[in-house]
């Protein structure tokens, strides 16, 4: 008897009892769909975190006024201004481990086009800022050095702002807008970026030259920089850049040993990797839960196969009497449990993908269905079928035909 015939015999035996076969599959279906759905959601969360940090920029540090112990981490308007424009220049020119540095001044404000008006975040910054963020325009151009030098009244819009002011699919470049009632010309619209890791919507923002910001939007002290400094490290060794910048600023601010920093630096690269570690842990936790349910599915198969062997004792006796060898009986039951587990796995994949899609659409979770996870789940469920089918199959093959035929 060849393997194909063994498969046919097993399949026929399974089809002879469809309800039992389905119930046996059910454990596997639940197990595998749990694996697929949970890993999809876990991976989705991970991918989203990675994406969000990528949108923020790589190897990023943010220097803010005020010590972290004073709650200066918020970097809001409440903190004492301690960072100066000279500090920014020094960071740019004197620290070799810094690639770019750019100011980030922020204000809330009302923006108007001819028809619409929209409240958003107004940022004042320099051209380097876009390099640090690695942001590009979808139309028009970014801010230039000369815009800053001349204090030009030009703005680059985030996608959301462009949509709100001019409507979806419009071309705002060259149009006029009023920011806090001051006329500006739109020179560019940024490509869509989505939610940031920190919950900010970078698409709901607009960017103007920092000099214009200082003179028109938020007149501040000329010496002090009333915002934060974005720094991109030259290498992925952000800790070293952080140390270099700290040393420079402490020196410039003439802070004696033992005195706290009057500024704080957030290392976003470290936060990013910590977050990614977190989601990785979550994914493995979910995978562990899913593996347990797969195990339960396997035990379910073993259970039903044992019941099936007992129930079909007479059939086994008959098959032996008419010439089935022990290994053929064993193969039949193994193929039966393998088939059940395999099809349970396949259905489980479908149910899992469905569940994950449903969850993501109704709760707004992102999901990522990895083909390798799907393949592994199916292979693993088939393997579960073999492993948990082994004992019942062996039990069947060791029956004595005489006893089996007489079994009531």
């Amino acid at each position: 008897m060849n393997p194909f015939q063994t498969f046919r015999v097993a399949l026929r035996a399974l089809l002879r009892n469809k309800m039992r076969s389905f119930l046996t599959c059910l454990g596997m279906i639940i197990g595998v769909s749990a694996v697929i759905a949970m890993v999809a959601i876990g991976e989705g969360a991970k991918a989203r975190v990675e994406e969000a940090f990528a949108a923020m920029g790589t190897n990023l540090l943010i220097v803010m006024a005020g010590s972290s112990s004073m709650g200066g981490v918020q970097g809001g308007s409440g903190s004492q201004p301690t960072l100066t424009w000279e500090d920014l220049k020094a960071i740019q020119s004197e620290v070799s481990s810094v690639k770019y540095a750019a100011p980030q001044l922020r204000s809330n404000g009302q923006v108007m086009s001819e028809e619409q008006n929209w409240g958003t975040q107004i940022y004042g910054t320099t051209p380097e800022y876009f390099k640090i963020r690695s942001w590009a325009v979808s139309s028009g151009s970014l801010l230039t050095q000369s815009d800053g030098d001349t204090g030009a009244k030009v703005a680059v819009l985030g996608q959301t702002v462009a949509d709100k002011l001019f409507g979806v699919g419009s071309s705002p470049v060259g149009q006029n807008i009023r920011i806090k009632n001051i006329p500006f010309t739109v020179v560019g619209v940024l490509a869509k970026k989505g939610q940031s890791a920190m919950g900010q919507d970078y698409d709901d923002a607009l960017f103007i030259p920092v000099s214009t910001f200082g003179s028109k939007i938020q007149g501040g002290l000329k010496k002090y920089l009333s915002g934060s400094i974005m720094v991109q490290a030259a290498t992925s060794d952000t800790a070293r850049t952080q140390a270099d910048v700290t040393a420079l600023l402490r020196d410039r601010h003439r802070l004696a040993d033992g005195i706290d920093d009057d500024f704080s630096i957030r290392n976003l690269a470290e936060i990013a990797s910590a977050q990614q570690e977190g989601t990785k842990t979550m994914t493995s936790l979910l995978a562990a839960v899913a593996a347990v349910s797969l195990l339960v599915g396997g035990i379910g198969i073993m259970n039903i196969m044992l019941v099936s062997v007992t129930e079909r004792t007479r059939e086994i006796g008959l098959r032996m009497a008419i010439g089935a060898r022990r290994y053929q009986i064993m193969a039949q039951f193994l193929v039966e449990s393998l088939t059940l587990a395999f099809f349970g796995g396949l259905i489980g994949v479908a149910v899992g993908v469905g569940t994950a899609t449903w969850l993501s659409s109704s709760f707004g979770w992102s999901l990522l269905i990895r083909p390798d996870v799907v393949a592994i789940s199916v292979v693993f469920s088939a393997l579960t079928g073999v492993i948990f089918g082994l004992y019942p199959a062996r039990k069947a093959s060791r029956l004595d035909p005489i006893d089996a035929l007489r079994y009531e």
Partner: protein, 245 residues
């Protein structure tokens, strides 16, 4: 071939039940070479044990058993399985058909284990079913067939491999007398075509259709005699009221 089909030589079969030793077969020496052989005897006399040994489902505790001149008493279970597949057909009191499986698929089963290809299997199974008079019911399932028809399917399964030997343990035990006679008529036909049939029965009426009767008692052969078999003739169907003929 001058070796007899079945040759039992001082075959003993003992069962140990705790302290007690049961001698199910004691020094049975017996040759069977053709014939429609009925094995009779009281309950517990060792008939089934003898059938199991002859049918290669069980091995003797001592003594030897030659089937077609081959000593099968020391063979391993795989070799015995192959012999059962090729040389022996079984018919049981309770039919032992696979439920929810058509007659033809039931009959095909021994050929599946013999590795016969699907098309050839179908052809031979159909032929066997025709031989037992069920050519019109090959796709019926056991629960759609009467007891007598189910036993015919089982007989078709026993002859489909063209085996030389047919073993039947109480084949008419679950059937009414009319159907029993039909089955015995079929056995007589198969015997006259050259098959060796060994059947166990406790009914003298059934044993009367055999060409030889072996009576067992306490694991030993009590009597063993050839006889002129009564020809099994199926009585015409009793006229039923309301049926126009």
């Amino acid at each position: 071939m001058n070796a007899p089909l079945i040759h039992l030589e001082k075959v003993c079969k003992t069962y140990r039940m705790g302290e007690e030793v049961v001698h199910a077969l004691q020094d049975v020496t017996l040759d069977i070479n053709g014939g429609l052989v009925a094995i009779m005897g009281a309950s517990g006399s060792g008939k089934s044990t003898m059938m199991n040994v002859i049918g290669c489902l069980d091995r003797p505790s001592s003594g030897s058993y030659f089937l077609e001149g081959q000593d099968v008493s020391k063979m391993g279970h795989n070799a015995l399985a192959d012999i059962r597949n090729r040389t022996i057909g079984f018919v049981f009191q309770s039919f032992h058909l696979l439920s929810r499986t058509s007659a033809i698929e039931n009959v095909e089963l021994p050929l599946v284990y013999a590795g016969v290809s699907g098309k050839e299997r179908k052809r031979r199974a159909e032929e066997a079913l025709k031989r037992v008079g069920l050519g019109a019911r090959i796709h019926h399932h056991p629960n759609q067939l009467s007891g007598g028809q189910q036993q015919r399917v089982a007989i078709a399964r026993a002859i489909v491999s063209k085996s030389k030997l047919l073993m039947a343990d109480e084949p008419t035990g679950n059937l009414d007398s009319r159907t029993s006679i039909e089955i015995m008529a079929l056995f007589q036909e198969l015997w006259r075509e050259g098959m060796t049939i060994v059947l166990v029965t406790h009914e003298p009426d059934i044993a009367a259709f055999a060409s030889r009767v072996v009576v067992m008692k306490d694991g030993e052969v009590l009597t063993d005699r050839e006889q002129e078999p009564v020809v099994a003739v199926v009585p015409p169907p009793a006229s039923r009221p309301g049926v126009m003929t």
